[in-house]
Symmetry: C2
């Protein structure tokens, strides 16, 4: 099994490690130290060696921070993690504060005393976030100071796992669709357009995309950790641990890419003296900015030039996504068939459900990894948005409960991410009503046509309006970008209430995942991935429009739909979708599954 069900951390982490960190702080003359969730690569999912926040506090969420002072400490989490943090972190040692409302800045302003010095590791903070923290500390009369050596790492010492060294391999043209030399030339032009000589690229997904390589340094995503300097002429220096370099790699990278050891990076930055170097202040840490400025380079602060081209998948990548989703659909349909038949009476627990789903995906023979740990939440566990079943939390399904399963796979040709909510036994009228409201939002966001320039912020309301009309809502974003055999969360586009200025463009893949959560009772989410389609004329219309093609192919549980709440357009849309699912998956599954699927996808 790829997924495990152990608790990864608990309050003992903070109890044991906090004194060690404070001792290291004292040796360095610090009154405090900042512990962000992000690592040297600003990763969302971290190698164990870089999960400093978990080691220091016990908290393992995908976003957060801690501040450790001499005599007190605080951990910061967002609304998704308020339950989890109480289970994982010792409330006597760490005050729990909101990451968004006030956040670390407000705490520094409140808690610091004049003259105090708080250390930070400049390799872990982006300049954008650091500027806000520095200003807050100064308002309290205190100061932040870069620590040349991280006191937490010192405290961790020998016990700290080694840096990951997963092999880095070529990602063939059949999947990437564009040779690296062409990508580098395009991005080189973009660097020139910013009036820069070179770009420093540190985001692992950008490195993977630019050089058509994949690694495995970060669990659940094939990311190679490294850095690159790309010059405006398209040549590059790529810094990777030699232990990760596979035999084919140098030839694959070609003459224009110099493969170098990580230790050579600092000298390479010094070589940029007098040049204009583009760096993304939201993705690259302050250490790079300091090093470039010290070297006498001129830093051009601009978005990572690979971010938008990477988000706009080319035709080969879109076709790969279709193939990957059709393959994943076979596993999903077998899984849903099992849930809809045998499991209705065997009432499996979440761990078994998770294992079954992983098993069906393994049977495809193409599974490289899960794209994230499966969330299988039965009954009240389904209402915990970032739930992951463990042996401690594991819950058995029961008659009349809802089961929410959010899962995804990494295949060479694409990354999937899908949520289905399934009734075990007879669902209540309330469950069905709310499921149908969520479905109406999902359908509205699935069928919208829109002109160029439209952002994800503009269309978010379509997924929420049916819930709002009944006095309901959900407290997470409606959609995130997804990579092509890369991260399952990828910007810069997203669909959410928060303002976002990135227009939805052809080839971008986004999730469509409205939900409803009743704390202590059940959770509902319906999630499809969909790709933005090219600008096409509409019969009888005047202006060509963009739109979405749904990639995910898996039936929606009919037992949870109140058909009378759907209008004719919605019914036709769902029937057409179910017909697509049957046509794609039907011929690829065994007879009993196909018979079940025919019923599950029959017109409403």
């Amino acid at each position: 099994m790829r997924q495990t069900f152990e608790e990864q951390a608990d309050p003992s982490f903070g109890r044991e490690h906090l004194p060690l960190i404070r001792a290291a702080m004292a040796r360095d003359g610090l009154d405090g130290f900042l512990v962000p969730h992000e690592d040297e690569h600003q990763n969302e999912y971290l190698p164990e060696a870089n999960d400093r926040l978990a080691w220091a506090t016990g908290f393992t969420g995908s976003a957060g921070a801690a501040v450790i002072l001499k005599d007190k400490a605080a951990v910061f989490v967002d609304g998704r993690y308020t339950l989890q943090v109480r289970a994982q972190v010792d409330g006597g040692l760490f005050e729990v504060r909101d990451l968004i409302d006030g956040g670390v800045s407000a705490y520094l302003e409140d808690a610091l005393e004049p003259g105090q010095i708080v250390g930070y590791d400049p390799r872990l903070h982006s300049p954008d976030s650091l500027d806000r923290l520095k200003a807050a500390a100064e308002r309290a009369g205190a100061n932040l100071k870069a620590s040349p050596v991280n006191p937490l790492d010192q405290a961790w010492g020998e016990a700290r796992p080694g840096q990951p060294q997963a092999p880095v391999v070529p990602h063939p043209l059949d999947y990437s669709g564009e040779e690296s030399v062409l990508k580098r030339s395009r991005i080189g032009d973009a660097i020139m357009a910013e009036d820069a000589d070179a770009a420093l690229i540190t985001a692992p997904a950008s490195i993977a995309w630019l050089f058509n390589i994949r690694g495995g340094d970060v669990i659940r995503s094939p990311l190679p950790l490294g850095q690159a300097i790309l010059r405006k002429d398209g040549t590059a220096r790529l810094f990777l641990d030699p232990a990760k370099v596979t035999a084919d790699l140098p030839a694959w990278l070609g003459n224009e890419v110099a493969l170098e050891r990580p230790e050579a990076l600092e000298a390479a930055l010094r070589d940029l003296k007098g040049e204009r170097v583009l760096v993304d202040p939201s993705l690259s840490s302050a250490w790079y900015f300091d090093a470039l400025e010290k070297a006498g380079a001129q830093v051009v602060r601009a978005p990572d030039p690979t971010a938008l081209p990477r988000a706009r998948k080319n035709e080969v990548e879109v076709q790969g996504a279709r193939t990957a989703h059709a393959r994943d659909a076979v596993a999903l349909v077998r899984f849903l068939h099992w849930l809809g038949t045998e499991a209705q009476s065997s009432l499996p627990d979440e761990v078994e459900i998770t294992r079954r789903l992983e098993g069906f995906r393994e049977e495809t023979g193409a599974l490289k990894d899960l794209s994230f740990d499966t969330i299988a939440g039965a009954a009240a566990n389904g209402a915990i948005v970032h739930y992951r079943p463990t042996h401690t939390t594991n819950r058995r399904t029961e008659q009349g409960c809802l089961l929410l399963v959010d899962s995804g796979a990494q295949y060479l040709d694409g990354t999937t991410d899908v949520t289905r909510t399934v009734a075990i036994g007879e669902p209540s009228a309330e469950m069905r009503e709310r499921f149908t409201l969520v479905l109406k939002g999902n359908l509205a966001l699935g069928r919208v046509r829109f002109p160029p320039g439209t952002t994800g912020s503009s269309v978010d309301v379509l997924a929420r309006a049916p819930l709002w009309a009944r006095g309901l809502d959900f407290d997470h974003g409606t959609g995130h970008g997804v990579g092509s055999y890369l991260g399952v969360h990828e910007g810069p586009q997203r669909i959410s209430k928060a303002p976002n200025s990135v227009a939805l463009q052809p080839g971008m893949i986004v999730s469509n995942e409205p939900g409803y959560y009743k704390t202590g009772a059940y959770g509902i989410r319906i999630e499809n991935l969909q790709v933005v389609t090219p600008l096409t004329d509409i019969e009888g219309g005047e202006r060509p429009m963009l739109g979405f093609e749904t990639l995910t192919l898996a039936p929606i549980d009919r037992r949870l739909i109140v058909v009378d709440m759907l209008d004719a357009e919605e019914r036709a849309q769902l029937d057409a979708y179910h017909a697509r699912v049957l046509a794609s998956v039907g011929p690829r599954v065994e007879a009993p599954v196909r018979a079940w699927l025919e019923q599950a996808t029959a017109p409403l």
Copy 2:
């Protein structure tokens, strides 16, 4: 009649005045001069004496600019005015450029030569806009220079009309709902919260609201032109031309408001030496910032502190709006009755239609002014978004045409703004289909419920999605704020594709006006004003929601609706609205009109 039908300007304006302006520029040693549309008060609608752009170029739109150089000139308009500008401005003298795409900045960068000096009147430009223009001129190696005396005003000379001197009168508590002393105390607290000692307020609508006064210096809106300094203790100095001060005014303003001559303002700003003074850099001109800085005051750049409180109407203002709309509805229904009966065969022209509507509004006995010049556009004229009928453009209605009428009134208790589109004779299938799409958008935006924090940008798509689905769209905002017996266009909230961070809050009045325009053929717009309702629980829901109450009461032309295109919810919504119209207006109109109204508002 209040509205006139003469052409207000034509290409002869530019031909006659451009040489005079260039001569004045030469006397001042300038290579160019900037002519914004805005005046000293950053007004949208201008007193004739301040419409410098029209005098210089002939262009009379509500937004725009010109740049006059020694040997060339350009006029800048947005997409709404591309047809109008060609009729009003001599294309041989002025290059026509897009105000939004590139705008004045791009022109300055292209057209200026190194060393050139371009003058501007610092009383006419906000610092926000000026900063961009200065940077553009500098990129061309040229410089902008403040002109102590405006060369255009010198060129205009004796021919320039005098500044308006309309009487300024008290606006009673029955309409304003909150005493000025309380408003000043509230805003004083807001000034303190910004850590300032005083605020300089120059927006006429803010002055009118803060002191509960109304004037008439600007056509179509009861604005008093003046300035005020409000201290954090709630006391104020108000600068108004003594010729405008009516007998009751000093007592109405009370002891805490010193009424002073405009000439005293400069010295009053000098009195602020050493103090922190809040000024809005988007509403107050650069001249005020320069004067305050010269005086040794510390300028705090922040939004006008009256803008949000003014936008959130209190219960008395909301009730006033309801009363004003019910009164206006009587005039509208009489007008629509005439259009739906007699006019169907008499086929009146746009001028007669405009006069009739004004006549019905006069009959209410309460009309203070129109809130803007009525747009009555028959057939192809309806497709010109900012059309105003003149004797030159006047067009007779014809069988099978559409008539778009956008109009509004100023009453003491409220400002109205309404658009109805009416069929003359038998409309085509295409007209009906497109009208129904516009209606679906209007209904969706009318019925939406939403949580606190939702902005107008978030809900805009609701009004557009039905059009987008058919490959159609409209090129204007969906909704603007409206004042309470004040400006018919009022921020800071608005409903549009463009990002806007101001949340919709209870008491805010916004328009809901999707449209469709077929150039050379016809225009469709349906516009209601609606007020944001208080947070209320929804039966069976968990979270209280905001919503809208439609203020406008006038039937939607049933002959233009394709009933099959509406779902059950939309039909019920329109039927309920029509029932409200009948219940409110029916008892207040004569029998033949009532009989027609019963038919016009019968359930679909």
